[in-house]
Amino acid sequence: MTEPDASARFTEMYAAHHAQVYAYAVSRAGRRLADDVVSETFLVAWRRLSAMPPAPLPWLLVVARNVMHGRYRDEVRQASLADELRAWVDEVDADVADGVAERSSVLAALAQLAESDRELLTLVAWHGLSNRDAARVVGCSVATFFVRLHRARKRLEQALTDVDETESTKEFSR
């Protein structure tokens, strides 16, 4: 790859995917860290451009994932993400539109899951990745991914039931 090809390819890749990388970064590390994660991800992506596959999104998310794990101590990232998860629920609660109660419950339930479950579920539900690509991002086989996704889904259902019960108790005691 010659240099001009490389920078043209990089620029196109950035234009096509920066919003998705940002969304992923927010969902894994919160907005507080997301801008840093995005810029570092694209720096690493540039330096590793010769390794970039033709459909770069899963690869970019792997880079972003490594950046997050390498750059921040887990507590720092978890704290930022916890703020983010709370903010989602709060902001949805402040909204008066239809279907808000359901969205709020789903987000609250999501917040209660273990991070590994949350990651699998959001890769598929929010970031539009196929199961194969999502498996690549988290670094497991597709078969393993299916099993883990199935379990994560069950746990989300359970958490959702718990959240709803808490909510109705709240309503009731008012």
Partner: protein, 367 residues
């Protein structure tokens, strides 16, 4: 609530809008200006040297700007005596005056447009945190860059970089550096799979990077010289052109417009009319303020306009553009972290300043 529906579907529908605000604008030239990682050993050695500034770019988010071009050299400090200029009070007035003044450059440009290259010299700096975990301090790392930007894709652009070393950022940082044993180099951890980055206090060698053709980035996209020469010279149409390239909304959108206008007046080889339009567009943006008279990192006097946004972490991030109010020429851009409130001193995060810029038809240096 119904449990008949699939939870994944419910989760999809609950996708928070916060995911879609989009990142702060990134300066792609600042990234692609650095050598890529290849499998060859020889390149790895160079990477280590080049690696010095890379995380700084990331740390500043918007951070260090790289490839820059402007029509004319900025004013020397001695001629920029603030008092005669008596700048108007508001950011809007300053920007509109700059637009009028910059449009007068026309004649000089037409004489010069025969050049094959924009030759532009910049100095860039970035603040980075180093030192022991319990007692960190800031150092300011600087590089100089000389760019020979080919106007046609037939010619090769050449970029020369030189690390100018690093030093503690403030007197307080100097004290902390002494307590750290006055090190002459600092090692920073890298993301997994990457080598740690070593920053040295001493200057480094001059390095060359070449690319064919131009390489101007606007709106997150590479634009050709031809496209730059057809940018609208009307503020509203220029704004519409820029918004077409971007999908962000709200505050982030204003920041994007300010940032793009900033590139047009400081970095891009555009006509004086387009630069005037960029100034007028900035004048119409909500939240652009002036800091009055300032000096850049080389002590040159000008006025600054700024856009400040409260980041999601609650701290205020500010982009400043410094220009000569008498000629409308922009000559520096700075990023500041103001902390939680605007009343504080704030901390310089990074800057780019232009030391000279001119057309040339000469052959670029080999090294």
């Amino acid at each position: 609530m119904s449990r008949h529906r699939d939870v994944l579907e419910m989760l999809s529908e609950a996708r928070p809008g916060q995911l879609d605000r989009g990142p702060r604008p990134l300066d792609l030239n600042a990234i692609t200006a650095y050598p890529r990682d290849t499998t060859r050993r020889r390149r790895r050695r160079r990477l280590l040297v080049a690696g010095g500034l890379i995380p700084a770019v990331a740390a500043g988010a918007l951070a260090v700007s790289a490839v820059v071009v402007r029509l004319d050299a900025p004013p020397p400090a001695s001629t920029a005596t603030g008092r005669e200029a008596s700048p108007p009070a508001t950011a809007q007035q300053l920007l509109l005056t700059a637009a009028d003044r910059v449009a007068l450059e026309r004649v000089a440009d037409e004489k010069a447009i025969a050049g094959r290259y924009w030759v532009i010299k910049t100095e860039q700096g970035a603040t980075r945190q180093v030192g022991p975990a319990g007692r960190p301090y800031d150092i300011l790392q600087k590089i100089s860059q000389e760019s020979w930007l080919a106007w046609t894709p037939k010619d090769q652009s050449r970029f020369f970089f030189q690390g100018l070393g690093a030093a503690p950022a403030t007197p307080a940082d100097t004290a902390a550096w002494k307590r750290d044993g006055s090190p002459a180099k600092w090692t920073q951890p890298a993301p997994r799979g990457m080598k740690p980055v070593v920053i040295t206090a001493a200057s480094g060698p001059r390095r060359l990077k070449t690319t064919r053709g131009t390489g101007f980035v606007l709106g997150g996209r590479r634009v050709s010289a031809a496209e730059l020469s057809t940018l609208p010279a009307d503020p509203a149409r220029l704004k519409a052109y820029l918004l077409k390239q971007d999908t962000t909304t709200g505050e982030t959108q204003t920041e994007y417009l300010f940032w793009s206008a900033n590139l047009l007046v400081l970095d891009m080889p555009v006509t004086p009319e387009v630069r005037a339009a960029a100034y007028r567009m900035m004048a119409g943006l909500k939240g652009v303020t002036t800091l009055g008279q300032v000096t850049d990192q080389q002590g040159r006097k000008g006025v600054a306009v700024a856009y400040t946004r409260r980041g999601d972490a609650g701290t205020l991030g500010q982009v400043r553009l410094i220009f000569d109010p008498r000629t409308g020429q922009a000559f520096a851009r700075e990023f500041w972290n103001l902390g939680k409130s605007a009343s504080g001193q704030g901390k310089l995060t990074s800057y780019t300043l232009v030391t000279s810029a001119a057309w040339s038809s000469a052959t670029p240096p080999e090294k």
